[in-house]
């Protein structure tokens, strides 16, 4: 762990130091590019508001992501049942992906109301597609000899789905989840841009719009930094879960010694 995280951390420190030095020696105005120390200062100053917003964004992203997992996997399972169903549904899944979320966001606000409901729906919509496609791909690429074996032992539809198709699809599903977890955070922040409300319940996205409007650049940087930390945290959690599930058998989770 230490060996793999060492180099990027070192690079990070170098970049931050360079950034600080450039800002201070060249007297870059704070409203153009605040120095790292300014950002940290702004973060500490506004920590209560930032942490409150962070939690709000995290909860929205998590609910949207959770809903996308349940709905996306169900749709994928349905699609894997027959070619006809797959062909009928798939174009709409693609359509869902290609409509810019910003274009439908106002509509969502009108339908479900501003604030968290709209934010959750946007996070959900944006993270749905990778889960559908990856799960569907996984469910339809089960080894045909294993399928034959389950048939030979007279497995029921339920047994085949739970004991064979889903476990065999796990590497695909995990890939989908990793992509979607990041998208859910982005979706939540985009949602807050459009549908955010004041107080601490507006989330990081709302903070960013406010800070930008008031040209509070250090605060804006602090908010952006916070949101990316959230994305990284969620990505790490999903990756750990993935490694936990796949560590014994899938090449992607196995470290080989040669």
């Amino acid at each position: 762990m230490l060996r793999s995280s060492g180099p990027p951390i070192l690079l990070f420190i170098l970049l931050v130091v360079a950034w600080q030095v450039i800002c201070k020696t060249m007297n870059v105005p704070r409203f153009l590019l605040p120095a790292p120390t300014d950002v940290v200062e702004a973060w500490i100053e506004n920590r209560q508001s930032l942490i409150g917003s962070l939690i709000s964004t995290f909860v929205s992203a998590l609910i949207g992501f959770g809903a996308a997992i349940v709905v996306g996997m169900s749709i994928a399972l349905l699609m894997s049942q027959s070619r006809l169903i797959e062909r009928s549904i798939f174009p709409y899944a693609v359509l869902l992906q290609t409509i810019p979320i910003v274009a439908v966001a106002p509509l969502i606000v009108i339908w479900v109301g501003a604030g968290m409901p709209a934010v959750v729906v946007i996070a959900f919509l944006i993270s749905l597609f990778p889960i559908i496609t990856n799960t569907a791909a996984g469910l339809t690429s089960t080894d045909h000899n294993l399928v034959a074996m389950f048939e030979l032992y007279n497995a029921s539809w339920w047994q085949r789905t739970v004991k064979l198709k889903f476990p065999a699809a796990l590497p695909y599903i995990m890939t989908g989840l990793r992509i979607s977890s990041g998208l859910a955070v982005i979706g939540a922040i985009v949602g807050e841009f459009i549908a955010g409300i004041g107080g601490m319940r507006g989330g990081i996205g709302y903070v960013i719009t406010q800070a930008a409007a008031q040209l509070k650049m250090p605060y804006l940087f602090a908010a952006a930094l916070t949101s990316s930390l959230l994305g990284i945290a969620i990505f790490i959690i999903v990756s750990l879960v993935s490694a936990r599930f796949l560590r014994h058998w899938h090449e992607s989770a196995i470290r080989r010694e040669l």
């Binding site: 034959a148 048939e151 032992y153 007279n154 014994h248 058998w249």
Partner: protein, 275 residues
Amino acid sequence: MVVARPGGAPSAASSDGEPLIVVDHVGKTYGNGTVALDDISFDVSEGQFVSLVGPSGCGKSTLLRMVAGLGPITVGKILVEGLPPKESRQEKADTAFVFQDANLMPWRNVMGNVELPLELRGVSKGERRAQAMQALETVGLAEVTKSYPRELSGGMRMRVSLARALAAHPHLLLMDEPFGALDEITRQRLNGELLRLCALANWTVVFVTHNVFEAVYLSTRILVMSARPGRIVAEVPVPLPHPRVPEIRTDPEYTRIVGEVVALLGTAAEAHEED
């Protein structure tokens, strides 16, 4: 005692002297018009070890799968214990199939893989663990129950596969080139292992292979097939004594039968080229 067959009443088919498997003028044509099998007929009686030997593409695996009730039969009929294959499989749960590669689930450890047939049948956890353990002890893998398939050698994976078949307590074992991917030494060891298990569990076996030596060593009868369309061109009995010991491989009679089967395969191939 290693393998108790629960509800192990002798099947109706065996008690009145009927063969366990009847293949009656069976043909298989694929959707694209390719004739895979043409007019195949043979019987397999209780306790026999029958090998299907033929070149790749002669449809021997397809035939075996049809006996297992996988894939439709185009013409003719197959009876397993007096019933069409699929019904026989569903009603009697008396058949186990061993695949070309070990065909294990990589996400389950050895124990989980061996338990599968029992699990699908709804056997309680404690009971199936005990039976799977017994099967694993029989194939000498009691020490690796928690290992995952990728941690095992090819030969060990095949033994897990045999244990899985054993745990299902089958009467009839259908094997589709089970040792095809193994090195010669492991193959010979597992041939011996298989014969030991057969004697122990009283299996009737249909064994598909393209290895003539293996077929002669294991079988009581060999059916020689030709390619495209697959036909049975000859039947060779193997009157070598049981139990078969490795030394049999140097027996003149063994060599003679191997030569006979090889010659028959050659004739079939020539006839095919002249077509």
